[in-house]
Amino acid sequence: MKKLILPALLALALTACSSTGPETAGTAVEDRVGVATVTASGVDGSGIAALTDPNNILSKRSVFFDFDSYVIKPEARPLVEAHARFLVQNPQMRMLIQGNTDERGSREYNLALGQKRSDVVKQALLLLGAQESQIESVSLGEEKPRCEDRTEACYGENRRGDMLYSGEF
């Protein structure tokens, strides 16, 4: 693709304007530019044993929210408290909280709504003793749905905050 296009683009770039139009000046065709392809590098995650044991509450990472709500539900409190304790006991650990929304509405507005969810989780962890320097709250908006069906159950799966530790993001 690139190979085929580049010579044409070079030709474009080299073409000079030579208008001879009697009434209207000709415009140059030299300003069309090519497109070079870039591949974005990803991040490799690696788990931490204590955090991945399915019998440990710390292996659970998601806080779910109701529609249009930015309040942590009572059933999610033990999970948030466990992670706050872990952060207090392991001050070297860093956490990234990713807020998510369902897919309805504007992508950028949903990104801001997802931020409200991650911020709420972060505030709860800070109140429970974690340090500001340990936690970054960000939003993925509607961009990384865990469930892609257009059902209420699916939308509920996607309205959540995920807590990730160093090495997992």
């Binding site: 693709m1 690139k2 085929l4 296009i5 010579p7 044409a8 030709a11 474009l12 073409t15 000079a16 304007c17 030579s18 208008s19 001879t20 139009g21 009697p22 009434e23 209207t24 000046a25 000709g26 415009t27 065709v29 300003d31 069309r32 530019v33 090519g34 497109v35 070079a36 392809t37 870039v38 591949t39 974005a40 590098s41 990803g42 991040v43 990234l96 990713q98 309805r104 509405g105 504007s106 992508r107 950028e108 507005y109 990104l111 801001a112 709504l113 931020q115 409200k116 911020d119 970054e136 709250s137 960000v138 939003s139 993925l140 908006g141 961009e143 990384k144 257009r150 990730l164 993001f169």
Partner: protein, 424 residues
């Protein structure tokens, strides 16, 4: 007619994809046209057969796709550009205008395309032009000729020699692609396993700002298309999103959460000199930096997401949208007269325009999942993302709601369109 058009575009698309390899192409289907279309005759240019690919086919397809013209069959009329055409005969065939042209061989395998446009009713020449070209430039030159005809006959600048950016999602892969406004010559600027959103063209059409999640959080990049060089312009603690270029291309309005909530900031296009643009107790996002000196944006400061504006140089916010309880994604037309946005109407997200002088708002679509409106550089068409059969497609609608087009890529989701500027 529509079937024929679709078929012809399909054929062109097919040939292009065979010629260029496996690159997925956008194909365009016309689903609505203007009320009164301008009948024109565009005979094949003299000596055009010397080119491997036609120029006049490109001109005709552009004008027909615009929904404002209808192509009248040339019939047996010979119309070399060097001779004033028989305008009475043109009239007799039902056409109001005729474009004649010829190719003159130049040194080094190049040609000069000379063309003239005549008004058959008033019996006068509307203009003439000559463009140099290599045989490989048939599409670009065709778009420029179509722009010339469009401007002479409608009084508005054409938008055919422009490009669009959009994001294609196929399986787990995301590609930021650039294509000509007719969907041809698609090329990938960025390939990633993580989402890419909110592409925004620099005013000079050379760079795109966008949000990439490749580092597991939203970070704003500025990407130079020719070289592929990328620069991080905002990677503060928290989320960095919604880039919008200042009209002079020196700055970007962005949304950062480094100080808490999603709020508006300005940052230099090189990533330096971040400063706050506005302050609110709620969410401020989706800035659009208008040529009218205002920054339009979405804010929920009043309880529901609505569109506001502030002077770019600082000042108090003024609410712009009033009807309904969900109005987002504002985009100002280049002449500053129309505001396009997404409104929620009985649970459906639709493209609307507001005439800023009269404050009259018109909903232009009857779909349910419209997003990310973007004006064509002449302000006549609005490109947006929507949904068709559960798949993301791009559509375009004229600001009077009459002309409609749909742009699809086979077996992939297309979203986040941005119509590039007119390059002079």
């Amino acid at each position: 007619m529509r079937i024929l058009n679709t078929f012809r575009l399909f054929l062109a698309t097919l040939l292009a994809s065979l010629a260029l390899g496996a690159q997925a192409q956008l194909s365009i289907e016309i689903t609505g046209t203007g009320a009164a279309r301008f009948p024109v005759i565009i005979p094949i240019f003299e000596n055009e057969g010397r080119l491997p690919q036609s120029v006049t086919d490109v001109v005709r397809a552009d004008l027909e796709r615009s929904g404002l013209f209808t192509l009248i069959d040339t019939g047996p009329l010979p119309m070399p550009e060097s001779v004033t055409p028989d305008l009475a005969a043109v009239r007799a065939r039902g056409a109001d205008a005729v474009l004649t042209g010829s190719l003159v061989p130049m040194a080094g395998g190049r040609h000069e395309v000379r063309f003239r446009l005549f008004d058959a009713q008033k019996q006068l020449e509307l203009g003439a032009m000559a463009l140099p070209m290599t045989p490989a430039q048939n599409r670009l030159v065709g778009h420029r000729i179509a722009d010339f005809v469009y401007e002479k006959l409608t009084g508005l600048p054409g938008y055919f020699a422009t490009r669009i950016a959009y994001v294609v999602k196929s399986g787990p892969n995301f590609e930021l692609q650039i294509a000509d406004a007719d969907g041809m010559n698609a090329a990938t600027a960025l390939r990633s396993r993580e989402p890419i959103i909110s592409p925004a063209w620099s005013p000079d059409g050379q760079r795109l700002a966008y949000v990439s999640f490749e580092q597991k959080k939203p970070i704003i990049y500025v990407h130079t298309l020719t070289t592929g060089q990328r620069r991080v312009v905002a990677n503060f603690k928290g989320s960095n999103s919604a880039p919008a270029w200042s009209p002079d291309g020196s700055q970007l309005a962005v949304v950062l959460t480094k100080d808490g909530r999603s709020q508006l900031y300005a940052v230099g296009a090189d990533g330096t000199g971040v400063r706050r643009l506005a302050q609110s107790s709620g969410i401020d996002t989706e800035p659009f930096w208008g040529a009218d000196g205002h920054i339009y944006f979405t804010s929920d400061r009043g309880g529901s997401p609505q569109i506001y504006r502030i002077p770019a140089g600082g000042g108090s916010a003024q609410r712009v949208s009033f009807e309904g309880n969900y109005n987002v994604s504002p985009r100002l037309s280049f002449d500053g007269k129309l505001l396009a946005f997404i409104t929620r109407n009985a649970g459906r997200f639709q493209v609307a325009v507001q005439d800023l002088a009269t404050r009259q708002t018109t909903i232009l679509t009857d779909s349910a999942r419209d997003e990310s409106p973007s004006f064509a550089p002449n302000g006549r068409m609005i490109l947006y993302a929507t949904d068709s059969g559960g798949r993301g497609v791009l559509s375009a609608v004229s600001t009077d709601g009459r002309i409609r087009q749909r742009l699809t890529v086979q077996a992939a989701d297309v979203r986040e369109p941005a119509w590039g500027p007119r390059i002079r």
